[in-house]
Symmetry: C2
Subunit: 695 residues, 2 copies
């Protein structure tokens, strides 16, 4: 019914208006399976122009990646849709086969190059070309993308979705997370980069040290740190602005924001010049004062009204525009003159000249004086108390004004467009500026947070893990007082069996070790008085229990699948955190599996492992193996009840206090009493523990 020309198709991945975007990234992913079964993908963020090429070994890896990264839309061939549909939560668009033909040409055209050999795409040109075509169609003009970069797996630690969720690294289902604690960034670009940094811990020791050096340098000169952070307050979302300029959708306020951002660079350079280490940060920064000046000389400093109303482009830029503006703005004076003359001619003192949207300009005469209206007045409109007229002269005046208005609109828009086109030439340099400012934001943020929360610079080791007075960075922010704990592991002493009462803080403790290691590897200081951290190749977690009935995976199968993944991927250099294993099945099955799994990890994988469990039977492992130690969380039983001290000590928990917790949770007293009765009967006579002693 409604016929409209398609100007732009909006899909979740192609939104470029700032208002609709959070400060996060907005990647669209194009997926393609080669005949040999490898999966090639290309990711593009249309709001920043970033393009990433990435291959996957299996569909599961791909799905995990999609569900852990900020991907808002997936496009794939019709044939892959059934495999992806149920496993990926984001919007999937299926493409016809023609999208995957002539893909190399499509890419060449997008980048305006003759060859794309240097992109080293391999078969990734299929999803890449399809993506380009898709963008061309949805945004209805040539997609503006930066040169593709390859996500270097060897450089970054892989984090699976389970671990990202279990450690609460970034905002998600769970409220509190590491990102929110660390995010004191000053710019939207910085906060986007921070999220990326948290999800991509480094594996290269030198790279980590380089980041830590920058953070140290800022921490050593807090005055400078605060000064730089103040400058960053004046930095706008350059990445998005650049992109809007490229897509011809920039608005006047974007250029003003761009100019203000560029004005920050000189004072920033001056400030950092005082520090040898930090001045390096701006070394490669291109000089963009020419862009700043272009904007300054063409546009007013403050924006009033909409583009086209004649209040954006400065006087003196265009003689023509100035003339039409003059005509438009002085029409009021001329109308006053005309009114005076008509009053004089007709002798009607209450004669008024006015304007209304539908009838245009009119001469209004009160009802009582209508008989004195001259013959050449043509009636336009009758009101209750007055009549309105026009004359050929007034009509001509009106036509002139209206034409001037349209001219001002067209001219101002054209001049603004020219200005944007001139700035487009500097896209690459502007992107460099955006990147540099983002990293400065990250380093100063890490320095600021470290000073605010008392973090210490981690020391990187070859195998030793030593944390003194370690804290959980997220939990410590939300409790009144947090009890710090030490941790020591090395290549020999590499597994802890942690037993302890409910609610004593077992989960907090093992996550804290994982988070401290991760923070060190993103180049941030860590919540501890001292920390020596080996560079881990991966952090694995298995926590909680949850079934997924629609995929037919029972709670226990989910749990075991996670364990299987860890066992197959973990190396001697990994960190494994286990919070209950074997709870989803019968007790005997559970203990047997947990025991044999622990033995396997200890003997075969040899990675550092923290295992929190309610199976006290497992503490017998420490007797059998030299490098396994039992930890527990200290409690004090008083007359009024149990006090959890949250202090991790060597030893085995003697009780779980489960019934006490049930009472706290509000179970009726009769149930609690009866449960105690039953417990006494079954505990008294049990002997499982004695039996496992013989294993």
């Amino acid at each position: 019914i409604v016929k409209r020309e398609v100007t732009r198709v909006i899909t979740p991945g192609t939104i470029i208006e700032d208002e609709l975007l959070s400060t996060s990234n907005n990647y669209m992913m194009s997926v393609y399976e080669s005949k040999s079964g490898e999966i090639y993908t290309v990711l593009a963020d249309t709001s920043t122009g970033d393009v990433v090429v990435k291959a996957f070994d299996s569909l599961d890896d791909l799905i995990d990646f999609v569900n852990t990264h900020e991907i808002t839309q997936v496009i794939c061939p019709e044939s892959m849709y059934p495999q992806l549909r149920d496993k990926i939560k984001v919007f999937i668009d299926r493409l016809d086969d023609w999208y995957y033909t002539n893909t190399i040409d499509a890419i060449k055209e997008a980048y305006n190059v003759f060859s794309i050999d240097h992109f080293e795409l391999g078969d990734a040109h299929y999803p890449f070309g399809a993506l380009v075509k898709y963008l061309n169609y949805t945004i209805n003009k040539q997609a503006k993308l930066r040169f593709p970069r390859t996500l270097d797996e060897s450089k970054y630690m892989i984090l699976d979705s389970t671990t990202i969720e279990n450690l609460s690294l970034v905002p998600g289902e769970r409220g509190k997370n590491l990102y929110d604690v660390l995010n004191k960034t000053k710019t939207p670009m910085g906060s986007r980069l921070l999220k990326w940094v948290i999800l991509h811990p480094l594996k290269d020791r030198r790279e980590i040290e380089k980041r830590l050096d920058m953070v140290s340098a800022f921490l050593e000169d807090k005055l400078l740190m605060n000064e730089v952070r103040e400058y960053l307050d004046g930095v706008y979302d350059l990445e998005r602005i650049i992109n809007r300029i490229q897509y011809d959708s920039a608005k006047p306020k974007d250029l003003i924001s761009l100019r203000l951002t560029l004005e920050v660079i000189e004072p920033l350079r001056d400030a950092l010049a005082s520090n040898d280490e930090l001045s390096k940060l701006l070394e490669d920064l291109p000089d963009l004062s020419v862009v700043k000046e272009k904007i300054q000389s063409a546009m007013y400093d403050e924006i009033e009204g909409e583009l086209g109303e004649g209040k954006i482009i400065k006087e003196g830029v265009s003689k023509e525009l100035d003339e039409y503006r003059e005509l438009l703005y002085h029409s009021n004076e001329k109308l006053k003159d005309f009114e005076e003359i008509e009053r004089a001619k007709t002798g009607i003192q209450k004669l008024k000249v006015g304007f209304n949207n539908v009838f245009g300009y009119y001469i209004e005469i009160p009802k009582g004086q209508v008989k004195n209206a001259p013959e050449h007045y043509t009636r336009l409109q009758t009101l209750v108390n007055a009549e309105r007229y026009t004359t050929p002269e007034l009509k001509e005046f009106e036509n002139k004004i209206m034409a001037a208005k349209q001219k001002v609109e067209a001219l101002e828009k054209a001049l603004f467009e020219n200005l944007c086109n001139e700035i487009k030439v500097y896209t690459e340099q502007l992107q460099k500026v955006a990147e540099t400012l983002s990293w400065i934001d990250i380093y100063t943020t890490f320095a600021y947070v470290s000073s605010l929360y008392g973090y210490a610079r981690p020391v990187l080791s070859d195998g030793e893990l030593e944390i003194l007075q370690g804290r959980h960075p997220v939990v410590e922010r939300f409790v009144d007082s947090f009890v710090p704990n030490d941790t020591y592991m090395d290549n020999r002493l590499r597994m802890f069996i942690l037993t302890g009462p409910n609610m004593s803080g077992k989960s907090t403790y093992i996550r804290q070790v994982g988070l401290i290691a991760l923070m060190a590897q993103i180049g941030c200081f860590v919540p501890a008085s001292f920390a020596k951290i080996p560079v881990f190749d991966r952090i694995f977690t298995r926590m909680g229990a949850r079934d997924d009935i629609s995929t037919g995976k029972s709670t226990f199968l989910t749990e075991m699948s996670e364990v299987a993944l860890i066992l197959s991927k973990a190396t001697e250099r990994s960190l494994v955190l286990l919070d209950e294993v074997g709870r989803g099945t019968s007790t005997f099955d559970g203990i047997s599996i947990a025991w044999s799994m622990s033995e396997y990890i200890y003997n075969e994988v040899k990675c550092k492992t923290l295992f929190a469990t309610h199976f006290t039977e497992l503490t017998e492992l420490a007797n059998a193996y030299d490098g396994i130690k039992n930890l527990t969380v200290d409690v004090k039983e008083t007359a009024d009840g149990v006090i959890f001290l949250h202090r991790v000590i060597e030893g085995v928990a003697d009780r779980s206090y489960g019934i006490e917790v049930a009472a706290i949770a509000g179970l009726p007293q009769s149930i609690v009493d009866r449960a105690r009765e039953i417990l006494n009967i079954i505990v008294e006579k049990s002997d499982i523990e004695k039996k496992v002693g013989i294993l």
Copy 2:
């Protein structure tokens, strides 16, 4: 820097453009705590105008409500913010105190009434008035709301967020859900209503039977059902259209959609007239042919271009508009004439008249002929191969055209606005139409789905629950073959202890009973060959395990809190589904608590309960209590391994097959073998089971 007049502040709850909304509701909630501690709230959906008043006894109830309903934004006094901040996931806006003053006046003004006594708001006028003021500010004009309705608690079953999630009732974290299975609705209004219907099962037997009667009537006349569903294909989102008309943001296509929707009513009435039961559905429907005719006579049937281009309002509606349109559209002919005349006058055959946005109309003469240009031609622009000129005559022509263009725009917009205002008068009747069509959509959808998937009409009972060949409505859609199971419970036989191997389908079975009961109570047929269902006052669930480290709740505490809630709120008429209780603590504690809790539910609460567990020790309960029965899921051990038959039978599971599941999940063979070894040792000598026999 950027000065702009605020025309509308966009907040998550005040979006009324269709493109930005899903088909779901979009409620904003205003929260207020009275001095006596009661919490009053008012919910408003600005896109449909719906307003609901609701009070809560406690903050927890409120939070649960917010997290289970489609609320996109919460507004509250500054003082309440700290309590809500961490617990509510949606955007919260804090309001200054003045919002909560003169609230009654604000409401009166919004509804344009002299008294609001009949709204019976009590202290709810505080959040209500604040909401009105907030909307007035954010949308910058008077909020258009329907009369407030009170959410009647006694009529609907309460569903807590845990249960909504555990039973996967509506789209959320888990992929598959009941809503997606049932949602074969034809209109956006129907799909919104469906979600509401699923989340508000009825407790009134007569109301349920009324809905079931409608579904039956459609099922008995499938031809009619299909015909009605075809008519519904032509129904647009009336609720949203009405709302946009009220907010003066309707577009031409909205009125066309409105007209097309109204055109459906007569054929629909004719079709339903043949059925006595169903014809009642349209009995109270107002006649709105006058609205249809108003639109038809004022607007073209198809929409071309934008409002203001003169292609929306029909010829003959306004003489003035027709005249200006004439002038505008015939300017081309006039220009041709002018071109001919100038060619003749100057003798330049290649002279052309053209238009460009910046310079307006021009006369173009090729470079070679420039010497022949007449004196009165004024130069405008120099091109490579030509010169462009204007003349006073052309200038005047241009002024006239441009003025005509603006007149057409203003006139057409004014006429369209008038039309919208005339339609506004019928708002209440239109809302009635929207509501009626939504319910017809629900009834035909239930009938259609029941026929498609082979559902049976449930019989309502006074206490007996009997399901023959019952299926899980969601799981059966995603597996190749689903094994149906029977269920029988009554006021005596009221608790099942369900043990069985991992992955045998225990969870599916207990959820299936819950879903069948719920479907019956929303008035839908159920996936079974026969079903007799007592009307439950509430369905409770406790499933899975998950800690929330940032709120300091351990897995076990979360589990126990859920149990405590069930024990305090369940009545004899409730249905309780438990999938593992007591797994988050040590085995002995867990068994003790599960046992005493089961006794309490059986003896004190007396509700119907299905309890799936791995504690085989609990099956001893069936020996102690008459109304407790043990169920298990049948397996067949073959030479090649275990076959799960998914058939629920009376009895006790003899093994858990946990190690077999671990093998399936991909644990290394050496771990599996070692686990078997350990299991044999500890099982052989264990005697817990014998001990609980004496309880």
